[in-house]
C-alpha cells in the first residue's frame, strides 16, 4: 500500500529498461487514521464548559457574644435535614413560651419547582412584594423607559427593603450539601437578598427531630 513508487530513474541504460509507470498518489489511509485518532483524543479530553460558581457573602464573624437574636420581621426560617425541608415564618416560639398564636409549628415543603407546596411557589408568594415590583421594572426596561444600570441598582435596593423577605437557613447534622445548594438556589430565583445560614437552636432541633419521626 503506502509505497511511493520510485520515480523513473535510470532510464538511459543501454538495455532499454522501461521506466516504470507509477502512480503519483500516496496512500493516505494511515494519515487519516492518525488524524481521526488525534481528533477523538482531543474531543474526549477537552473541557469546554467551565464550571459555574454561585457566590454567597457571609457576614463577618463577631467575637463578642450577641445578646438576644435581633427581632426578625418578615422572615422565614428553613430547617433542613437530609432531603427534607421544613419552615416556619416569623419568630420562633418554643413550646414552653408560646407566642400569640401558640408555639411554632413546622410546615413541610419540598425542593420541587412545580409542586404547589414546593419551595419555588412558596417563596414566590412570600416575596411577591419584590417580585411584582421587579416585573414592573422589567417591563419598563423593555419599553426603554428605564436604563438597565438603574434597574440593577433599584433591584438591589428593593431586595434590602423591610417589606422584602429575609431567609434564615438552619441545618441539622444529616443535611446534605446538595440540599443546602438547592435551597440557596431557590432563594436566589425568588430574588431574595438577605440569606443567612445560622446555627440551629436546640429547641428547633428538637422540633425538627419530632417532625422527622412522624
Amino acid at each position: 500500500m503506502a509505497e511511493i513508487a520510485e520515480g523513473g530513474g535510470g532510464g538511459h541504460d543501454k538495455g532499454k529498461k522501461r521506466a516504470k509507470k507509477s502512480s503519483t498518489r500516496v496512500d493516505m489511509t494511515p494519515m487519516v487514521d492518525l488524524a481521526f485518532l488525534l481528533l477523538t483524543f482531543f474531543v474526549l479530553t477537552s473541557t469546554f464548559s467551565k464550571p459555574k460558581v454561585m457566590s454567597l457573602a457571609y457576614p463577618a464573624k463577631i467575637n463578642e457574644p450577641i445578646g438576644d437574636a435581633p427581632k426578625l420581621n418578615n422572615g422565614i426560617t428553613f430547617l433542613v435535614s437530609k432531603d427534607k425541608i421544613y419552615y416556619y415564618t416569623g419568630e420562633f416560639y418554643p413550646a414552653n413560651r408560646p407566642g400569640k398564636n401558640g408555639p411554632t409549628k413546622l410546615t413541610e415543603t419540598n425542593f420541587s419547582a412545580s409542586s404547589p407546596t414546593g419551595l419555588r411557589k412558596l417563596l414566590a408568594n412570600l416575596n411577591s412584594y419584590v417580585l411584582l415590583r421587579k416585573e414592573g421594572m422589567v417591563k419598563k426596561v423593555k419599553a426603554k423607559q428605564m436604563a438597565d444600570t438603574t434597574y440593577t441598582r433599584e433591584l438591589e435596593a428593593l431586595k434590602g427593603k423591610p417589606e422584602a423577605l429575609k431567609v434564615l437557613v438552619k441545618t441539622d447534622d444529616k443535611a446534605l450539601c446538595k440540599n443546602f445548594i438547592d435551597l440557596i438556589d431557590e432563594v436566589k430565583i425568588a430574588e431574595i437578598g438577605v440569606i443567612a445560614p445560622v446555627p440551629i437552636l436546640p429547641e428547633e432541633l428538637k422540633l425538627l427531630e419530632s417532625e422527622l419521626k412522624k
Partner: protein, 223 residues
C-alpha cells in the same frame, strides 16, 4: 450493436478533502481545548441557576462525598510561596524537584507529613493514596494555614500582575487580581462538613465564598 464502454475507474477515492477536514478539526480542538487536569477526587456538584464562570485565580477547597477535605490553588508562583511557608511552619523539607512538581500539581488532600511522599508519586497513582484529607480540626488546623498563606501569596503575585497590567496602559480592576475563594462540595457530602470549611474561611475573615455548581435552567432569565 455498439459496445457499451464501461469507464475504467479506480477503486480508490480521493481522500484529500477528508484529511483536510480532519486536521482542521484536530487543530481547532488542540487550540481551543483546556485540559481537564487529573484530579485525585471526582466530585458531583449540585446544580444552580448561577451563570458566573469560575474565576481563574482561585483558592479551592474540595469536599468529597465522604467528607474528606482537599485543597487547591491555581497560581503556580503562589503555590511555591505557600509551600515554602507551610514547610517552615510544619518543619517538613522539600527538595527543588518536589517544589517544582508541587507548583504544577492540582488538588491534593493530605497532611504536611504525607505531602513529600504524595508529591513523589506518579500522577495516576495519586488517586490510590490513602489519606484522611487536609486536617482542619481545632488542634491541627492545616487547612487554615494553607488558606491564609495561599491568600497572602496570591495577593502578592496578584499585585505584581496588577502593576504590570497598569504599566501596559490597561485599566485593570485590582479586584480581578485577588484570589477568589471557592468551595467545591460533592452534593452527597454532609453539609456540616462544608460548614466547617466555611467556618475556617470566616475565621480568617474571608467572607465572600463561591460554591461550584453545575448549571441549570434559569426561569428568570431564559435565554
Amino acid at each position: 450493436m455498439p459496445k457499451i464502454k464501461i469507464p475504467k475507474s479506480s477503486p480508490s477515492i480521493d481522500m484529500t478533502p477528508m484529511v483536510d477536514l480532519a486536521f482542521l478539526l484536530v487543530t481547532f480542538f488542540m487550540l481551543a481545548a483546556s485540559f481537564r487536569p487529573s484530579e485525585p477526587v471526582t466530585i458531583e456538584t449540585a446544580s444552580s441557576i448561577s451563570d458566573k464562570v469560575i474565576p481563574e485565580n482561585n483558592i479551592m477547597v474540595t469536599i468529597n462525598s465522604e467528607g474528606k477535605v482537599y485543597f487547591n490553588l491555581t497560581d503556580p508562583e503562589a503555590r511555591k510561596e505557600a509551600l515554602a511557608n507551610m514547610a517552615s511552619l510544619y518543619k517538613v523539607t522539600f527538595n527543588d524537584e518536589q517544589i517544582e512538581k508541587f507548583s504544577l500539581m492540582s488538588t491534593f488532600g493530605c497532611t504536611m507529613k504525607e505531602l513529600p511522599a504524595y508529591i513523589d508519586l506518579p500522577g495516576d497513582s495519586r488517586k490510590e493514596f490513602k489519606t484522611e484529607g487536609v486536617p482542619l480540626d481545632s488542634l491541627d488546623n492545616q487547612l487554615k494555614n494553607w488558606i491564609s498563606y495561599s491568600n497572602l501569596a496570591g495577593l502578592n503575585s496578584g499585585k505584581t500582575a496588577y502593576e504590570e497590567a497598569k504599566k501596559k496602559g490597561l485599566a485593570p480592576d485590582a479586584n480581578d487580581f485577588k484570589p477568589k475563594f471557592i468551595i467545591r462540595a460533592d452534593g452527597k457530602a454532609v453539609y456540616k462538613k462544608a460548614e466547617k470549611v466555611i467556618d475556617v474561611f470566616r475565621d480568617l475573615n474571608l467572607n465572600n465564598l463561591n460554591f461550584v455548581t453545575s448549571s441549570e435552567f434559569n426561569p428568570n432569565n431564559p435565554n
